[in-house]
């Protein structure tokens, strides 16, 4: 990703949307004639989308708004009717009361029997009537569900999908209480090792092909397919191949049943116990929206959260599995002053006093582009007060064509916009190293980075008279710290990140901080207030709004306007 500032496209007035008047369950409604498909291209609106607009849920397995339409599960069958046209005059036929005459769809060879159409793949037409809750529709759903359940093993007690399984939900809502099937069920392979992160249970599969379409059309790795015939149909990876691209775990999310399960989450926790917290992935500057699933202060999984401006419905496997460090046993949990355990009031008072007396230009601050924008803003306020030189640490990796960014810091733009770093992050670190070497810089403040890896080695660190460090996990820099302040992972506090494209996104607190650890913005606000360079902030909302009023790029943004999916600012 280029570091050059980009401007958002100028907002243009959207062209007027052409609407079609149809009836859903007897209620007249205007729906757009065309709607975006899975790639955002405008295509004729389907009956399923029209029903969604009318707030009538049509059950479905194979349809997914972000995948091409397959129309193979038949679950979305609905009864419908179209206006009758006079073949001679090409005019609509009207009833005696003047209303248009509607012909309900029937079997051509059996005109008394209603014929359904799959709502996900049938476009609407003017005057059409859709009956998503008619007796015929209900009967069709019941029949489809019954046939899907014929060979289903019903091993919900040991199935990880239980609780978020569409087969369970629709069986309760639309199914029958008892099975009429008396023959032995067809058995298929169980616990198949499909790839390094995926386990497949073929018996549970309803053959909706969502996983096949995702990996072929979205991830660009045509790895999966259906083999064998009839009731022996099974999902399989290409012979001799592993299903191992960086997006495989998305198939676990979109699998409507428990056929594809995550090896990482397998048998770990039943999903109904998980507390869901809206958050943002920290593994690169894309900033995929995620939901953190936690129970009793233990994080069990990350799942992608829909945001069309950032990650659609997906996230990469590497980012998804990068959560275990939050619960690591060696997390920093104690405030330490010169190696001795101390308390927050003592340590903060000493730090404040030391910084108050520090000579102009004798302090350097190395922040982290993994910190929240609010924390970077407070560090910048301190730097202004102390005349300190600041920078952050760069993290580069390899980008891919879908979601992974080359910049592996979640908040590089935050560091730039708050003035902590220049466009090229890390450019001032050699200057800081020289300053320490020359004895000009006598106090070094480090947040969330191991500076021994970026050119300030242990010998040079030993020359620093006062080393103030805040971090989450121990490293060579925390070992050398004179003041060690335990900080919080993003899942343990609130704040915002600004992604590579300038999307300001907030994240919420999922679990409690470990030990004595406190959110960095809390104690930074205390120090900044004591030094007279910022107000004392007790809420993240107040801090964010003050920051937005002072940082030019964030002008007009407020915490309450961020919503769940964020706001884009020019960067």
């Amino acid at each position: 990703m280029s570091n050059a500032p980009t401007t958002a496209p100028a907002p243009t007035a959207p062209p007027p949307v052409e609407k079609i008047r149809i009836k859903v369950d007897g209620r007249e409604i205007d729906v757009p004639k065309m709607m975006p498909d899975w790639q955002g291209k405008l295509v004729p609106t389907t009956m399923l989308q029209a029903c969604q607009i009318a707030a009538q849920e049509v059950p479905h397995y194979c349809y997914h708004p972000k995948l091409p339409i397959a129309g193979n599960c038949r679950m979305c069958l609905v009864e419908f009717g179209t206006p009758v046209m006079d073949p001679a005059t090409k005019k609509p036929v009207v009833n005696e009361d003047g209303s248009p005459k509607i012909a309900r769809s029937v079997l051509p060879y059996e005109p008394g029997t209603p014929r359904g159409a799959i709502a996900c793949a049938t476009p609407i037409s003017p005057g059409m009537e859709i009956y998503p809750s008619s007796p015929a529709t209900k009967q069709m759903r019941e029949a489809v569900l019954e046939s899907l359940l014929i060979n289903h093993p019903l091993d919900c007690p040991i199935c990880d999908q239980a609780g978020e399984c569409k087969l369970q939900e629709y069986s309760v809502q639309h199914g029958q209480a008892a099975s009429r099937f008396v023959e032995p069920k067809v058995h298929k392979p169980k616990a198949v090792d499909l790839g390094p992160r995926i386990v497949l249970d073929d018996e549970r599969c309803v053959l909706c092909t969502r996983c096949i379409r995702f990996t072929r059309d979205v991830a660009g790795d045509d790895a999966l397919g259906i083999v064998n015939r009839g009731s022996y149909n099974t999902i399989s990876a290409a012979p001799g191949k592993q299903f191992d691209n960086n997006y495989t775990l998305n198939t676990v999310d979109i699998c409507p049943v428990g056929a594809l399960t995550s090896k990482d989450f397998r048998f770990k926790m039943r999903v109904w116990f998980l507390k869901e917290t809206k958050s943002v992935c920290t593994s690169c500057s894309t900033g995929c929206n995620i939901t953190i699933g936690s129970r009793e202060n233990v994080i069990h999984r990350y799942e992608p959260r829909d945001n069309d401006a950032v990650n659609a419905s997906w996230m990469c496997d590497a980012g998804r599995l990068n959560y275990t460090w939050v619960g690591r046993a060696d997390r920093l949990q104690e405030v330490r002053v010169r190696g001795e355990r101390s308390t927050w009031p003592v340590a903060l008072a000493q730090i404040t006093e030391h910084l108050r007396q520090a000579a102009e230009g004798s302090v350097a601050i190395i922040a982290s582009a993994r910190q929240t924008t609010e924390e970077l803003y407070l560090l910048r306020r301190l730097a202004v007060r102390l005349g300190a030189i600041t920078d952050a640490v760069e993290r580069e990796g390899e980008a891919d064509r879908l979601l992974v960014s080359a910049d592996r810091n979640p908040n590089s733009q935050g560091a730039r916009l708050t003035g902590i770093a220049y466009t090229e992050i890390g450019i001032s670190i050699p200057t800081i190293a020289d300053g320490i070497r020359a004895g000009r810089i006598r106090t070094l403040v480090v947040f969330g980075e191991d500076v021994t890896k970026v050119g300030i080695d242990a010998a040079l660190l030993a020359k620093v008279e006062t080393l103030i460090v805040s971090d989450i996990l121990p490293n060579a820099t925390t070992a050398a710290a004179h003041y060690l302040l335990p900080g919080c992972a993003h899942a343990e506090k609130r704040g915002t990140f600004i992604n590579g494209k300038g999307r300001v996104q907030k994240f919420m607190k999922a679990v409690e901080p470990r030990g004595d650890a406190r959110p960095e913005w809390e104690f930074l606000a205390e120090v900044a207030k004591a030094l007279g360079t910022a107000d004392g902030f007790t809420t993240i909302e107040g801090l964010f709004n003050r920051m937005a009023s002072e940082v030019p790029a964030l002008a007009g943004v407020e915490w309450s306007k961020l919503g769940d999916t964020g706001v884009t600012v020019p960067v």
Binding site: C156, P157, I158, P184, K185, K263, F265, F267, K268, F273
Partner: protein, 192 residues
């Protein structure tokens, strides 16, 4: 009509409480002599009184919930955690196996709890765990006299629960499924 009960004040002799004390000691002494002779009230009554004779409970009694094993000695619980979810006083705590744990001790069921704890001080013996269990793995049994010397001792772990629970010879559905699947490995499928 109000009836006035006469409550005359105690006289000096009564206020020393000595007569009441003496009467009490008489009862104690009588029981002491009888038990030295090997007699007590329980033996007088045939069946006897609790705790000399434990109370016999009827079949439907809801006592302490224990885990059971199947007829082959395998743990029936598959760690579905429905009992933990339904338990009104949150007495049950299950540690699921997670991805690392080894295979369950029953083929085909894939899953069994790594740890299963019931805090008997919290349990209200409502029977919802037994009601909700899809595996017939937990039953409220006849035990009603639960005692221990510490709170920790009253948290029964999986080993203790299985030992107290005994065997419940029910339908072995996972075994049945496995046998059905094995039959299908040879073609044509035996649809007898």
């Amino acid at each position: 009509m109000t009836k006035v009960v006469d409550r005359s004040p105690l006289n000096f002799y009564e206020r020393t409480y000595l007569p009441a004390l003496v009467e009490g000691f008489k009862v104690t002494a009588r029981h002491f002599v009888r038990s030295v002779k090997g007699e007590n009230t329980a033996t007088d009554l045939g069946d006897g009184y609790y705790p000399e004779v434990p109370w016999r409970v009827e079949g439907g009694y809801r006592g302490a919930p224990y885990l059971v094993r199947d007829q082959e000695g395998a743990t029936k619980c598959v760690s579905c955690q429905l009992c933990e979810f339904i338990c009104p006083p949150k007495a049950i705590k299950i540690t699921p196996p997670g991805p690392e744990a080894g295979p369950a001790d029953r083929p085909n069921a894939e899953k069994m709890p790594r740890e299963f704890e019931i805090n008997m001080l919290r349990c209200i013996f409502c029977g919802l765990c037994q009601e909700v269990c899809p595996e017939e793995a937990i039953f409220l049994q006849q035990h009603y006299s639960l005692s221990g010397l510490s709170r920790e001792e009253m948290i029964y772990n999986k080993e203790k629960l299985l030992k107290l629970g005994g065997v419940h010879a029910g339908i072995q559905k996972w075994k049945h499924k496995l046998e059905e699947a094995k039959e299908q490995e040879s073609f044509p499928v035996n649809v007898g």
